[in-house]
């Protein structure tokens, strides 16, 4: 994905996107690249490689580090490219997904993992929202409760009906480009062709996170990937995220239970 794609980008060419910042990597739970504790990092996520028994791996270790540095430097100019879901930890090019698990590990087939899910998840689509969410109906005792949860999931700001904010359930923070307030959240396309936010069903995620997202500013749905949220203030210029309630009529379409559980 290069800036020459002809897309109208709101950010300047000088990247405000610190590519290294957005790149996932293997490290201690909650730690950022600089060593500080990262907001929203899930406690108890997998240990950094250095925490395991210290193996003398020789030169090859350093070579790999060098490769990682070179890669991120050369890619830094490529603004349009969303953060790659693939990371390069110390030794291996293990694919780490958004929730920090190595892809395909442990080796349990998807159908066996899926059937262990409890809960009655349904897909929820809100008119005007670019992607769908999943909620577990079993968690709520009344329609009112469900409705208030749904209103939390889809929040509209004025002038942003084209790109409404979607509030991440489970307090996951989107990855932010601090320079211009653009945010990234992981999404994927499920079997029905619906565009879903990753993570509503704990312990699951997209099967493949592909590296192609939003071709134009519209609601074209990427196959999978990271999408950007544009947040506008009243003057119509982008701003950082803030939560604001809107009195508005909302219509929620709820799909059938049967289709919702599978990812």
């Amino acid at each position: 994905m290069s800036p020459e794609n002809g897309r109208h980008l709101l950010e300047s060419d000088a990247t405000g996107l610190n590519f290294k910042e957005t790149e996932l990597s293997l490290r201690m739970p909650g730690e950022t690249r600089s060593g500080a504790i990262e907001v929203g990092a899930k406690a108890g996520m997998k240990r950094g490689f250095s925490q395991t028994v210290d193996l003398n791996l020789g030169r090859s270790n350093d070579e790999c580090h060098e490769k990682v540095r070179q890669k991120s430097e050369s890619d830094g100019l490529d603004v349009a490219k969303p953060p790659a879901a693939k990371i390069i930890p110390e030794n291996f090019s293990t694919h780490i997904d958004f929730q920090g698990a190595a892809s395909g590990w442990p080796p349990v087939r998807a159908f066996r993992k899926n059937v262990m899910k409890s809960g009655k998840f349904v897909k929820v689509a809100a008119d005007g929202a670019p992607y769908l969410r999943k909620v577990d109906l079993e968690m709520y005792n009344s329609y009112q409760q469900l409705l208030s949860v749904l209103e939390n999931l889809f929040v509209l700001l004025p002038y942003s009906y084209v790109f409404p904010i979607c509030n991440c359930l489970n307090e996951k923070e989107p990855i932010t480009d601090t320079a211009n307030g653009l945010e990234y959240v992981p999404t994927y396309e499920d079997k029905d062709g619906d565009w879903m936010l990753v993570g509503d069903v704990l312990g699951t995620g997209p099967v493949h996170v592909r590296d192609n997202y939003g071709q134009e500013e519209g609601l074209t749905c990427p196959t999978m990937g990271w999408i950007r949220h544009f947040f506008y203030n009243e003057e119509g210029s982008p701003t950082t995220y803030h939560n604001k309630w809107i009195e508005t009529e909302r219509f929620f379409r709820i799909s059938t239970i049967k289709e919702a559980v599978k990812l």
Binding site: T52, L57, A101, A102, P106, V115, H208
Partner: protein
């Protein structure tokens, strides 16, 4: 060709064929399917020719070889000489294709003319864990097309990890009037429409087994498509993996008119009340998959509480029980009457605890195969160990299949099993906590182990008690279990572990490696040390081009090698491709990463008589 053609007819009717065979070119692969001796133009018009000695020998051979059933024996026989090769080909009725790309459908059907049963395997196993993009290949279509013309008398098809479409199933249903058995394991690409065609057109169908396959929901009532009138020949109907509701009334009628039905495995959309109605009608069942084993959802139907206990008590022949997809543990006592006879019990979808398990398993003295979730904890495994002295196969699956999950089973459970189940032959064990000591104990207590697959879910985990790598444990397994043919390793492992495998694992055929090893030496030890190695699958391990080269002498003996996220370069893989022309070397790009560097994501290579396949998707590059 008629069904009676399994035996070669007596000499005097083969005049026509004898004249043909006097031409001495006996090229095995050139033997055509039409070389079957038939009645010919009529006995009176045939000249009698004294059969030459070779022909006599061949006829004798044919009569003898048809009794050979093991394919390994047959493969050996076919190598003796061209005559044996041809005769063996004529008498082989079961065709096994371990890798669908190793040979073309045409070559296979030309060589083996009288096949009644075909088994074909496709995708590599690691594809099951989403390590490569879908649509890699392994299409059934060219096979069914070739077989449709070559094997009109085909009776059985067994497919594993193949892509099968509804159209393929339609061709199958329409091309083989004697078709009897369809078994699809880990397949995908078809839906209930395809099943409907098979159900309605295969009038001789005895076996329809769908095992761990993905079946699309086309809203087609396939159960109702079985012929409505008269009895069916059905002996086995397995559809527990089908993730869509079925027409229960139609199923009930089907079961009622299938007097030969022995194996019935229901999917989770069948409630326990419905199960009851089926079980009381078919007490002759030997294999039962119970479906959800829970009450139906939605408003209460006003069903009376059934006497499940009596229903199961009437099943005197039941030896294999599975299902329990959404189990309500209150119903568990109902299966008590059958426990004493059970040889196989699959609780791997049942979230039950140790107490609930004990109420059942303490009566299962004859159990030989047991699949279960780790929700039973070490305590549950101890109960199994104390009761199931005849246990041959154990699989413990994780309820919470994540790297950092709790892990309710550990070395304690493994130790108990090893002490109680001395006849254990096969184990698959997922855990978070495992010690070398317990693995060593198992190697000593269970000398008959053939399959040892241990998955310590946390990557690179050492022995938590000693802090050491898991080298010694796996070393003991390969050293002490002299019959070991399949091994899957995990935990923190250094090259030493692979040294052990290479030194002692002389019978190992299948090896699975993940997140293990230090250097190229690890892979070298294995490739140089294991002469029987056929299937090697490696992920996320530091093996590079030099290690790959060390297997050059052996790759033609293997079914495949898979290496993903290792240290291979395109040049290294290219080198292999150049030196081994009969090896198909596929470099598969995982589409996640845009690769500017030159690491190889996935290497998948296999021997083949056909060269590069022509159906490779765009993310596959075949090196030459």
């Amino acid at each position: 060709m008629s069904e009676d053609d399994d035996r070669s007819p007596p000499l005097d009717l083969r005049g026509a064929d004898i004249a043909e065979s006097s031409n001495k070119t006996r090229n095995c692969s050139g033997v055509s399917g039409s070389g079957v001796p038939g009645p010919g133009p009529g006995p009176s018009s045939m000249e009698f020719q004294a059969p030459y000695p070779d022909q006599v020998l061949e006829n004798v051979l044919e009569n003898v070889l048809q009794f050979l059933s093991s394919r390994r024996d047959r493969n050996a026989a076919s190598l003796v000489c061209k005559s044996w090769c041809r005769v063996e080909a004529l008498t082989r009725s079961e065709l096994f294709i371990g890798n669908c790309y190793s040979v073309s459908p045409r070559r296979a059907t030309v060589r083996f003319a009288r096949v009644r049963s075909v088994a074909i395997k496709g995708r590599p196993r690691f594809a099951d864990f989403n390590l490569m993009p879908p649509d890699w290949g392994a299409h059934f279509a060219p096979w069914v097309a070739a077989m449709a013309s070559a094997y009109p008398w085909l009776e059985k098809v067994y497919l594993k990890r193949m892509s099968v479409t509804d159209d393929d199933l339609a061709v199958l249903a329409e091309s083989f009037p004697s078709f009897k058995e369809l078994v699809l394991v880990c397949c995908d690409g078809f839906g209930t429409s395809g099943l409907a065609i098979v159900a309605s057109k295969c009038r001789q169908l005895r076996v329809l087994d769908l095992i761990e396959s993905e079946v699309a929901d086309d809203d087609m009532d396939w159960i109702a498509c079985f012929p409505e009138n008269g009895t069916t020949c059905l002996e086995s109907l397995i559809f527990d993996c089908v993730e869509c509701p079925i027409n229960f009334e139609a199923l009930e009628r089907l079961v009622a008119r299938s007097p030969s039905l022995k194996k019935l495995r229901l999917n989770r959309f069948v409630s326990i009340g419905q199960l009851y109605r089926l079980v009381v009608r078919s007490p002759q069942l030997t294999h039962l998959g119970t479906g959800s084993f829970s009450a139906a959802e939605g408003p209460a139907q006003g069903e009376p509480e059934h006497d499940y206990l009596s229903a199961f008590a009437a099943c005197k022949s039941l030896v294999c029980l599975s299902g329990f997809r959404e189990i309500l543990p209150d119903y568990l006592p109902a299966i008590r009457p059958v426990c004493a006879n059970l040889t196989s019990l699959n609780f791997s979808y049942a979230n039950i605890n140790a107490e609930q398990l004990k109420s059942v398993v303490l009566h299962c003295h004859k159990l030989q195969s047991f699949w279960v979730l780790d929700s039973i904890c070490d305590e549950g495994l101890q109960a199994v160990a104390s009761t199931c002295k005849d246990l041959r196969e154990l699989r413990v699956f994780p309820f919470d299949a994540r790297e950092d999950s709790e892990g309710p089973v550990s070395e304690v459970g493994l130790q108990a099993i090893s002490e109680g189940c001395r006849k254990l032959q096969s184990i698959l064990y997922f855990c978070q906590h495992m010690t070398n000591a317990a693995v060593v104990a198992m190697s000593q207590n269970c000398p008959e182990l053939e399959v040892f697959r241990l998955c310590i879910m946390g990557r690179h985990r050492p022995d938590p008690v000693t802090g050491q790598p898991m080298d010694e444990g796996f070393g003991a397994i390969v050293r002490n279990c002299k019959m070991l043919t399949r091994l899957a390793v995990s935990g923190l492992l250094t090259d030493r572990a692979f040294g052990y495998i290479g030194k002692y694992g002389k019978l190992v055929r299948t090896l699975s490696v993940a997140f293990a090893g230090d250097s190229d030496m690890g892979l070298k030890y294995v490739l140089e040390g294991c002469p029987r190695l056929q299937k090697l699958e490696i992920r996320d391990s530091p093996f590079g081009d030099a290690a790959l080269r060390s297997g050059l002498h052996h790759y033609y003996n293997m079914r495949f090698l898979w290496m993903s996220s290792c240290r291979l370069s395109p040049q290294g893989c290219q080198g292999i491709a150049r030196e081994l022309p009969r090896l198909v070397v596929e470099v598969i790009r995982d589409e996640v990463a845009e690769h500017k560097d030159d690491a190889v994501d996935i290497l998948y290579m296999y021997r083949s008589l056909e060269g590069p396949r022509d159906d490779a998707p765009r993310f596959v590059t075949i090196l030459q």
